[in-house]
């Protein structure tokens, strides 16, 4: 009996006619088995016990090579198209991607996702817009050309990036929503372990800023395992640096140092400069918190050099605060005071009210230790008008008023300063948070 069967070709590899001329020189098996035109392939004389895998391998491999060549051309065009979008206003960008087929390609969608990720470091609103554009472009892509499972993976990737961009813009409900969409898409996609790892990695950052540290830890652990299994050690490094931050927020300082150090070793200077700066800056902070001031100072010099090369003004100010902490830890009060004053002036100049408030409290703490009560009163008196005009929330302003009252009454202890400092850091992300007034003098003056 004839064992002739008919097998449908896989739709994703149907190529537009006339495209794809892979160089198959020297590979006779591939070259001789390029698939016939049409939707069906005839496989002859297959033995049921030993399927003819060779023919399938030859055919599919040859298609893959031809397919990749056409993708290369698409990628080259996409770079220019995505760069062009950067100079268009938001509404024009949407018009272009909806109405011009040039923009409706996989490579443009991927380029938008990558650009959104890069913009997240410096231009969060633009990062959100590019990720949103990517979620639109993926809806216009040709399922026949790209294949269903890879297309679903790409949609999941676009929604994960949109979630990440929204998280950076502090739109946490919007980020949750976008992650939920990404998760349901991933369940239907190709099962790519790297796509899953990326999702866990990005979602862990949202869990972290929402204070769900256990969830963040679990997600990052999963991401690290998947990246490691797939040999993606650069991404293991990035995830370990985030894990260090979660350890630190969970008061596991030793683990924070270990994870960050391990992560930094895996990063690559050519591609991970931003992550290296962030990782080293975090490590300086963890070392300071562990009281390891000499190590922190040595590392701080490296980080400062990197920031200076990149002209990163605000991170340099935050590093200046660390310099103050290190100087204080090494019993150099004058140097610490100078560093805090410089950082404070810089934060005020850049309208960073919360950062200015927190470093003012560091300065207040130093002055209290030095017994310079009059200067503490003057410092706190100066704080109020500055913070009123610099986006400091109402609850935080009320807390600062209470603190001023304690200072005036000469009842501001170091413990109170530390409580106030912790409160301000938390209140920055949660404007409704109220300050615990226990231990403060009664009948504070009413806010003016």
């Amino acid at each position: 009996m004839s064992d002739e069967i008919k097998v449908p070709t896989h739709p994703p590899f149907q190529m537009p006619s006339g495209r794809g001329t892979a160089d198959l020189e020297g590979i006779p098996t591939l070259r001789s088995t390029l698939p016939p035109a049409g939707n069906e392939i005839r496989l002859l004389s297959r033995k049921p016990t030993e399927p003819d895998y060779n023919a399938v391998f030859d055919r599919v491999f040859a298609e893959a090579v031809r397919h990749q060549e056409s993708l290369e051309a698409e990628r080259t065009q996409a770079e220019a198209l995505v760069a062009e979008l950067r100079f268009q206003p938001a509404n024009r960008r949407r018009l272009l991607i909806r109405n011009s087929r040039r923009y409706q390609t996989w490579a443009v969608a991927q380029g938008l996702i990558d650009t959104s990720y890069q913009l997240g470091f410096r231009e969060p609103a633009e990062s959100c817009d590019f990720a949103a554009l990517a979620t639109e472009v993926v809806e216009h892509l040709d399922r026949q050309r790209y294949g269903l499972a890879p297309l679903i993976d790409l949609k999941a990737s676009a929604w994960s990036q949109l979630a990440n961009a929204r998280r950076i813009c502090s739109d946490f409900p919007g980020a949750e929503q976008a992650f939920a969409t990404a998760e349901s898409l991933l369940a239907e996609g190709s099962g790519d372990p790297l796509a899953m790892a990326r999702y866990c990695d990005l979602k862990a950052s949202l869990s972290r800023v929402q204070g769900r540290f256990d969830e963040s830890f679990r997600l990052l652990t999963t991401a690290v395992q998947q990246y490691r299994r797939m040999g993606e050690f650069r991404f293991v490094g990035r995830a370990l640096i985030k894990l260090g931050l979660v350890h630190s927020l969970s008061d596991r300082n030793h683990d924070a140092i270990e994870a960050t150090r391990a992560g930094l070793e895996l990063l690559e200077p050519a591609t991970d400069r931003q992550q290296i700066m962030t990782g080293r800056h975090n490590l300086v902070r963890f070392l300071v918190e562990a009281g390891r001031f000499f190590e922190a100072r040595a590392l701080l010099l490296q980080v400062r050099r990197m920031y200076q090369e990149q002209a990163e003004a605000i991170p340099l100010l935050r590093l200046k605060v660390m310099e103050g902490h290190i100087a204080l830890g090494l019993s150099n009060a004058a140097e610490a005071e100078q560093a805090y004053l410089e950082a404070r002036a810089g934060f005020i100049h850049h309208d960073l009210g919360y950062d200015a408030a927190v470093v003012s409290l560091d300065l207040a703490s130093l002055l209290i230790r030095l017994g310079r009560a009059t200067e503490v009163k003057r410092l706190v008196a100066e704080m109020m008008p500055i913070f009123r005009s610099r986006q400091v929330h109402r609850e935080a302003l009320a807390a600062l008023l209470l603190f001023r009252h304690a200072v005036v009454a000469e009842k501001a202890s170091l413990l109170l300063v530390e409580r106030m400092r912790t409160y301000l850091k938390d209140a920055h992300k949660n404007p409704k948070l109220r300050f615990d007034t226990s231990g403060l003098p009664a009948d504070p003056p009413s806010p003016s």
């Binding site: 399927p51 599919v60 893959a64 090579v65 993976d153 190709s190 797939m230 993606e232």
Partner: protein, 74 residues
């Protein structure tokens, strides 16, 4: 490394892996073609392509076998 060289190098391992699952040629073609398509797109971003490809193929085969078990009546 160009894709064509990579495929030639990885073929013995991929073939051995896929034979172990006893797939029909239709199943083989479906899994191999869709996985290679994902790889074509991820070509620039996946560092360890061999590990990635073999892990993806293994995962797809396992899912297929699980699905087969679910639909076979007792």
């Amino acid at each position: 490394m160009p894709l064509v060289d990579f495929l030639i190098a990885v073929r013995p391992k991929a073939e051995a892996l896929l034979r172990g699952f006893g797939l029909t040629t239709t199943e083989l073609e479906e899994i191999l073609a869709s996985t290679l398509q994902v790889l074509a797109w991820r070509w620039e971003t996946v560092r360890d392509r061999e590990t990635w490809l073999l892990a993806m193929l293994e995962r797809r085969c396992k899912l297929l076998i699980e699905a087969r078990v679910k639909v076979v009546p007792e």
